[in-house]
């Protein structure tokens, strides 16, 4: 591992993923921030390409220990550059070891990878990630429906959950094509037992449309903003 000194100072904000049906938070996604809550993009700008994967690995370790310190009582969603998984042996094993050491169960860790990143070498990715699934971790596909891929990704690899990209969610209540696309996604995921999370939900109308189509898991400003170094509470519109 490269010395941490070469990396910018960073910390995390946490944003809940809520289950509307039960009125509870099922997980927090750890979002990297600067130590003064600067946006993630600023942090990544300061990391050299060659060190990116080590940085990526380090982020997960710090996120877990911070979440544990804050008293995490549910799942934790952590991001992964899928290329890091193929480049480094320890990308996930170090994450698991850290979870063990701070008393967070492996089953409560969900690794998020973006659709566009894994589509190129889906077979290789599936093979390496599946090793860790037997250790109990969950896999979520982030930004689903955003890029060039789509449902066909699910032919070769079935994650535990997908997060429907916010570009599809935005104004979905008034956009026919987006509605048609999301209905197709829902149908396929249901048939395959994959959980669906609507991500980036900002308005009541967006929420209601998704809810009426049977989506129960949500993330977005409408429920809770990311909170810096805190595990925030969420708003439940059905209460």
């Amino acid at each position: 591992m490269v010395s941490e000194a070469i990396f910018p100072d960073f910390s995390f904000a946490f944003q809940p993923i809520v289950n509307i049906a039960t009125g509870s938070i099922i997980s927090f996604e750890a979002l990297v921030r600067g130590y003064r809550n600067d946006p993630a993009s600023q942090i990544f700008q300061q990391v050299e390409q060659v060190n990116l994967y080590q940085f990526d690995e380090l982020l997960r370790l710090k996120a877990i220990s911070l979440a544990a310190k804050l008293g995490l009582g549910c799942h934790l969603n952590l991001n992964l550059f899928s290329k890091a998984l193929l480049a480094s042996q320890t990308a996930i094993s170090s994450t698991l070891a850290m979870a063990d050491s701070v008393g967070i169960s492996r089953e409560s860790i969900t690794i998020e990878v973006t659709e566009s990143e894994i589509i190129d070498d889906i077979d290789e990715f599936a093979e390496s990630i599946n090793q860790y699934r037997s250790a109990g971790i969950g896999i979520a596909i982030d930004d689903f429906g955003a890029g060039y891929s789509g449902l066909n990704l699910l032919a070769d690899f079935q994650p535990d959950s997908i997060k429907i990209d916010m570009s599809l969610i935005r104004c979905i209540d008034s956009r026919g094509p987006r509605q048609a696309i999301v209905r197709g996604i829902i149908r396929t995921c249901r048939d395959l037992g994959i959980d669906i999370i609507a991500e980036g939900v900002e308005t009541k109308k967006e929420y209601l449309w998704c809810y009426e189509e049977g989506i129960e898991l949500f993330q977005g400003y409408f429920f809770a903003k990311p909170a810096f170094e805190r595990l925030p509470v969420a708003f439940y519109p059905n209460d």
Partner: protein, 400 residues
């Protein structure tokens, strides 16, 4: 509908053109014209240019805009721009010159096509021909007074350049039916490109040179259309769209429409199958081009849907009339849960968007039955009927 026009202009070279410069211009212009489906000719004599451009209005106008801005010439005057009923310089092939064989032998830019002995007299009678005759007689010579004393040795005395090359594509087509199981009819035939002797297309690919490829890419659909018409096509026609570059898409679509019209096939019976993997990064541009042709009734299908880079977003962006499922999704679908789930999800989206879904590459009874049970109505594949060389084959299975 497709408006064919010719545009004839003259201009003056800003300075005497060297042989090498003319040659360079010739080579580039031929290749690009072939790609754009533009025919015509270019004459150069002692500092004067005279050019006939024929093709679809939008394509000709755009090219002419570009040519007008070319710094190698000036005093560009449009002599005429008007609709024409058909091309004077060839029906998908072209090439005529205005000078005797002996003169030709002295010309720069001589190409194999001149030596085939085509002559000016073979140009279809019409305005282009009259104007060419006028040019020969000395009219329309626009010149600039060269400040440098012209090096007459280097300045080609007379040059006839053919902007596109004659090509008889060594290709043909097989046809495979698409059936509609809901009403038991043949809905369409897909024209599948092959060699003249029914060789698989990849086998003849290496024989197609670069310029030929462009020409061919623009015009092969026209060949398929006229062949299908001759075979008595009475249903829809599915044509693959292989434009390698988005910027050529316009020319290729125009050429297809032009051919449809010529062969008495309504554009609404033509479905252009777009291989979505080829569109990456240029999808917005492509969507715009398609939009321009929507009014003609021509339909679009996205092919190989559900393969590597397929995206549901593409449906919203391109709004195709049809998609066809990728072979990988179709294969063994009756035994493969994830494929079934994906196809049903896609079907949901397509139904909501009013897009027809079609399954190709059906090889087995099991696959066939699965689609019939799930009410996917448009089916194609060897199980139903294999492609037949230069024929419109009937399905092997009884249509309900």
């Amino acid at each position: 509908m497709v408006t064919l026009i010719h545009l004839i202009y003259c201009s003056a070279a800003v300075q005497p053109m060297q042989e090498s410069e003319l040659r360079e211009l010739l080579v580039k212009a031929r290749a690009k014209n072939a790609r754009l489906g533009i025919t015509g000719m270019l004459l150069y004599e002692n500092g004067s240019f005279f050019q006939v451009l024929e093709g679809t209005a939008v394509v000709v106008d755009r090219l002419f805009d570009e040519i007008s801005q070319d710094v190698r010439h000036t005093k560009v005057s449009t002599i005429i721009r008007e609709p024409i009923a058909k091309r004077a310089f060839g029906e998908w092939t072209m090439g005529y010159s205005s000078v005797s064989q002996q003169e030709l032998d002295e010309l720069i830019g001589l190409n194999d096509f001149f030596s085939k002995g085509s002559s000016f007299t073979e140009i279809t009678p019409g305005r282009a021909k009259k104007l060419l005759a006028a040019f020969r007689e000395g009219r329309w010579r626009t010149k600039v007074k060269y400040t440098l004393s012209p090096d007459l040795g280097a300045d080609a005395k007379k040059l006839v350049m053919q902007p596109a090359t004659m090509m008889t594509p060594k290709v043909s087509f097989s046809f495979q039916p698409v059936i509609n199981v809901a009403n038991g009819t043949v809905k369409a035939y897909e024209a599948i490109l092959c060699g003249q002797h029914n060789e698989a297309f990849p086998d003849i690919l290496p024989q197609i040179g670069d310029i030929e490829w462009s020409y061919f890419d623009t015009n092969c659909r026209a060949i398929a259309i006229s062949m299908a018409a001759k075979l008595g096509l009475s249903c829809d026609l599915h044509l693959s769209f292989i434009a390698r570059r988005v910027e050529d898409a316009q020319a290729a679509i125009s050429a297809s429409l032009e051919a449809a019209e010529k062969n008495g096939i309504e554009p609404s019976r033509i479905v252009l199958q777009i291989d979505q993997d080829k569109l990456i990064g240029e999808r917005e541009q492509f969507a715009k081009i398609i939009e321009e042709y929507r009014g003609s009734g021509l339909r679009i299908s996205i092919d190989h849907f559900g393969s590597g880079l397929a995206s549901l977003n593409l449906l919203a962006l391109l709004r195709p009339e049809m998609i066809s499922l990728d072979a990988q999704l179709v294969q063994d679908i009756d035994k493969n849960g994830p494929r079934q789930a994906i196809v049903l999800g896609l079907k949901q989206t397509c139904t909501d968007l009013g897009i027809d879904m079609m399954a190709k590459n059906i090889e087995t009874l099991g696959e066939f039955k699965w689609f019939v049970d799930e009410e996917v109505e448009l089916l194609q594949g060897n199980y139903i009927a294999s492609p037949a060389f230069e024929q419109l084959p009937s399905p092997n299975i009884p249509l309900a």
